[in-house]
Symmetry: C2
Subunit: 199 residues, 2 copies
C-alpha cells in the first residue's frame, strides 16, 4: 500500500504534543479527518497565530502578546512584592485565590538537572535583576516538590547574597502537592503564613 | 489579569483532539510555546495540508489524497474478495499480516447507536453497491467487540439479502495462546467453532 504523505506527516506532527505517542497521534488524526475538519483548521490557525504573537513579558516572563503584560502595567499592583512561580498556570491559581496583590516572576519551569534545566535555562539572572529594581520582598511560590524546593533554595541563596528579603509560602500544602491542583483556601493560607528564609 | 486571547484560543482549539480536556490542553499549549514552537508550526501546516488534501477513496472509503487510492488501483489485488474493516488502522494491520490479497472497504467506524452512529452514518448503502460490483465473497473483519459484532451481523443481513456470500474472520485462541491464560469467553467460542482435522 502506498503511503499517504500528508496523513503520515499529520500523525508525525501530532507527536510534538506532550504525552502523545504513535497510537494516540493516529487516533487523533483519524478523529479530526473523519469527524472534526473544522476543528483541525481552527487548531492550525490558533497554533500559527499563537506562535507568531505570544512572547514573554519583559518584566514577569509570563506569556504575553505585548512587551509588558497587563498585570505588570497595572498601577493597582504592589510593586514592592515579587512572587516567583514555576508556570503560568500557577500564576493563574494565585490570582484566583485573591490573596496577593504584588508582582510576579514566572520561571517557566523549575531546576531539573536530569532534564538539562539548570539556572541558565531558567534565566535566574533576569530574576535577580528584576528583584533588584524596587522589591522589598521576594515570595517564593514554587511547588513543594523536590525540584520546586530545590529551585526555591537555589533562588534564596542567589537573592540573599544581594541583600534581598526572601520568603517562602507556608507549607500548608501537603508534601508533594502542586499549586495547580490545590484549592484556593489552602493556597491563600499558605501565602498568609509565609516565613522569611536565609541562605 | 487580562486574558491572552491567542493563548486562550490555542488552548480551546487543542480541545478538539480526542481525550484532551482543559488541563491537558493547557499543558500542551505551554509545552509548545515554551519548548517546541517549530513543532507547533509544523503541526499547524500539517493539519491545514491534511484537511485540504485528504479525502475518502471512492472505492474503499479509506483516507486517500487521490480519487481512487493506490491499493484499489493496484492490478495485483484480487478483485473478487472484499474485506470489511472498521478503521484504516485495521487495514494496515491486515496488510502487515500479509495474509490477504483482495480489496477492502473501510467503514470508518462501527454501528454505535449510543453515539448516534447508525447504518446511514456508516454509508452502508455504499458498501452494498461496492459489494455488488464483481465480488465473490465479502470477509467481515470488524472487531470482536459488542459493537463490531453487531456491525458484522447487520452487514451480513444486508449482503445476504443481495445473494452475496459473506464470511467472518475466525474467533479463537491467539497464536501462541495458552488455555490457562485465555479468557473464558474466547475459550468457549474456540470450542464452539472447533474445526474437524484429519491426520
Amino acid at each position: 500500500m502506498n503511503t499517504l504523505s500528508s496523513l503520515d506527516e499529520m500523525i508525525a506532527a501530532l507527536r510534538c504534543l506532550p504525552g502523545v505517542g504513535p497510537k494516540s497521534a493516529q487516533r487523533m488524526a483519524y478523529h479530526l479527518l473523519q469527524r472534526d475538519k473544522p476543528g483541525a483548521l481552527r487548531l492550525a490557525r490558533a497554533l500559527g497565530h499563537a506562535v507568531e504573537s505570544i512572547h514573554h513579558c519583559a518584566k514577569c516572563n509570563n506569556f504575553s502578546e505585548e512587551e509588558i503584560c497587563a498585570l505588570c502595567r497595572s498601577p493597582k499592583r504592589d510593586a514592592s512584592l515579587l512572587c516567583v512561580v514555576e508556570m503560568p498556570a500557577d500564576l493563574l491559581m494565585m490570582e484566583q485565590a485573591q490573596c496577593y496583590r504584588g508582582m510576579y516572576f514566572v520561571l517557566m519551569g523549575r531546576l531539573s538537572p536530569l532534564d538539562g534545566i539548570g539556572p541558565r535555562e531558567l534565566h535566574l539572572e533576569r530574576l535577580v535583576r528584576r528583584a533588584q529594581e524596587n522589591t522589598c520582598e521576594v515570595i517564593l511560590a514554587t511547588n513543594f516538590t523536590v525540584e520546586g524546593d530545590a529551585t526555591a533554595h537555589y533562588i534564596t541563596i542567589l537573592l540573599c547574597a544581594q541583600g534581598i528579603k526572601v520568603s517562602r509560602i507556608a507549607r500548608g500544602l501537603p508534601v508533594g502537592g502542586e499549586l495547580e491542583h490545590v484549592d484556593s483556601g489552602t493556597l491563600a493560607q499558605a501565602v498568609l503564613e509565609r516565613r522569611e528564609v536565609t541562605g
